[in-house]
């Protein structure tokens, strides 16, 4: 018993000294290069007024095997979803007889870097919209097709396909548009509000305790630059709002609806918290 205690004290002391190295906890110190050529910014200095000293992609907190899957587009299981998205992009739907490609042509050109700058202000609805909601706008207003329901139909693959066109591009959103700033404020308030019977906020886990293990889960900064991500546990793409809802549920709280004002505000704020990190879609997570 005594000896074990000494060993664990030594381990804690070591982890403290090498806080960023790959010992017991903390993000690994490695570079993410995709397909041997696209160098990703996975660690970067935060924007002004950010509470963290360094922004770190969730990739650094995953196991060797999971990290490896993301470095190779052929091995990355999320790429199947991206391929589905490409098909949907080119498929005619709705009463107007149009596909996404009818208006936007080749996504590699028209959508290049676009995904790195959402959420954006939508003057029409007077609120921020994300890629999922922009897709629904195009479907209903231009294609004469029905809006996708949350996480249904082509929503996840098409979102992943569009974001993939920004692979490597640093995330940045324009808070000077419309009323974005006040949505940022509201999102910030949500981020620090403790919810549920377990009485935890996003910040409790992802700001105060990132780098530590909560049972088998290595807590990251909860960045969203890799969404939709491919989760091995679910064997599927996972959307940002699904992840937010899951984390809120885990505090034993009622979950806000996807695309509600609450979650859109949170998405604006959490996107800003990852300013400068490369888009990694589809990131691979456990």
């Amino acid at each position: 018993m005594k000896k074990q205690y000494l060993v664990s004290v030594a381990a804690i002391a070591m982890a403290g000294a090498l806080s960023t190295a790959a010992v017991a906890g903390g993000p690994v110190d490695e570079k993410l290069v995709i397909d041997g050529e696209i160098e990703m910014t996975t660690r970067t200095a935060p924007p002004e007024g950010h509470p963290l000293d360094e922004l770190i992609s969730g990739w650094h907190y995953r196991t060797v095997e999971t990290r490896a899957l993301e470095t190779d587009s052929f091995e990355n299981p999320g790429m199947l979803g991206v391929e589905d998205g490409e098909q949907i992009w080119n498929t005619v739907e709705g009463t107007e007889g149009k596909s996404c490609a009818s208006c936007h042509g080749d996504a590699a050109e028209s959508m290049k870097d676009v995904g790195a700058h959402f959420p954006k202000w939508d003057a029409e609805s007077g609120r921020p919209i994300n890629i999922e909601l922009q897709i629904n706008k195009c479907r209903t207003e231009r294609m004469g097709a029905e809006a996708y329901k949350f996480d249904k139909g082509g929503q996840k693959p098409l979102t992943a396909y569009i974001k993939r066109q920004s692979l490597g591009t640093p995330v940045s959103i324009d808070l000077s548009q419309g009323d974005m700033q006040s949505w940022w404020e509201k999102g910030k308030e949500m981020y620090y509000t403790r919810t549920g019977q377990l009485n935890l906020s996003c910040a409790t886990c992802h700001e105060d305790h990132n780098g530590q293990f909560i049972r088998a889960d290595h807590l990251s900064q909860g960045q969203i630059n890799g969404f939709p991500t491919y989760r091995l546990k679910q064997g599927a793409l996972v959307s940002v709002h699904n992840r937010f809802r899951g984390c809120i549920r885990d505090t034993r709280a009622e979950m806000p609806a996807a695309f509600s004002d609450e979650l859109m505000a949170l998405e604006v704020y959490v996107t800003w918290r990852g300013t400068g990190l490369s888009v990694e879609t589809p990131a691979v997570r456990q």
Partner: protein, 155 residues
């Protein structure tokens, strides 16, 4: 007729449950006083069961203490978290009365910013899941069981 009998049984069970609460000497969460970082009396008036406490400690639906704390005594369990300190020898550092206070409402002993939930406290976050409103994470008996278990963790 069958349906009626069933309704009656449910009603009877409900009455029994509320009587049980009314007559027990169990302390309600809002009546528990934390003074000098201690809760001096047992929440149930009786002793806890350390063997039960050991199970509650690991059970993900109950204490799930292992999510954040490692403890060598439960090395058979996979994955001990390291968000909080290892609890090896914790009974050498805190008295049972202090351990009870920590489990009841850690925020009253550490700081309000601690990540550790209060297991017998109604000081909770917003939008609590509907079926959990007014309920604590552990029952008074489960808290006593966990405290009894923690008291065995000596070096």
């Amino acid at each position: 007729m069958v349906i009626k009998a069933r309704t009656w049984l449910v009603a009877a069970a409900a009455v029994m449950a509320s009587t049980a609460v009314a007559y027990s000497s169990e302390m309600a969460p809002q009546d528990v006083k934390i003074e000098d970082n201690m809760v001096s009396a047992s929440l149930t008036g009786g002793a806890g069961d350390a063997a039960e406490g050991r199970k509650i400690f690991a059970n993900r639906k109950l204490g799930n203490c292992l999510a954040c704390h490692a403890v060598s005594d439960q090395s058979e369990q996979l994955f001990h978290g390291d968000v909080g300190p290892s609890l090896d020898g914790v009974a050498d550092r805190w008295s049972p009365e202090e351990l009870r206070a920590i489990v009841v409402n850690s925020k009253a002993v550490f700081t309000k910013d601690t990540i550790m939930p209060g297991f017998y406290s109604l000081d909770v976050g917003v939008h609590v899941r509907k079926d959990l409103v007014g309920k604590t994470i552990l029952t008074a008996q489960q808290v006593e069981d966990v405290v009894a278990y923690l008291a065995t963790l000596k070096e």
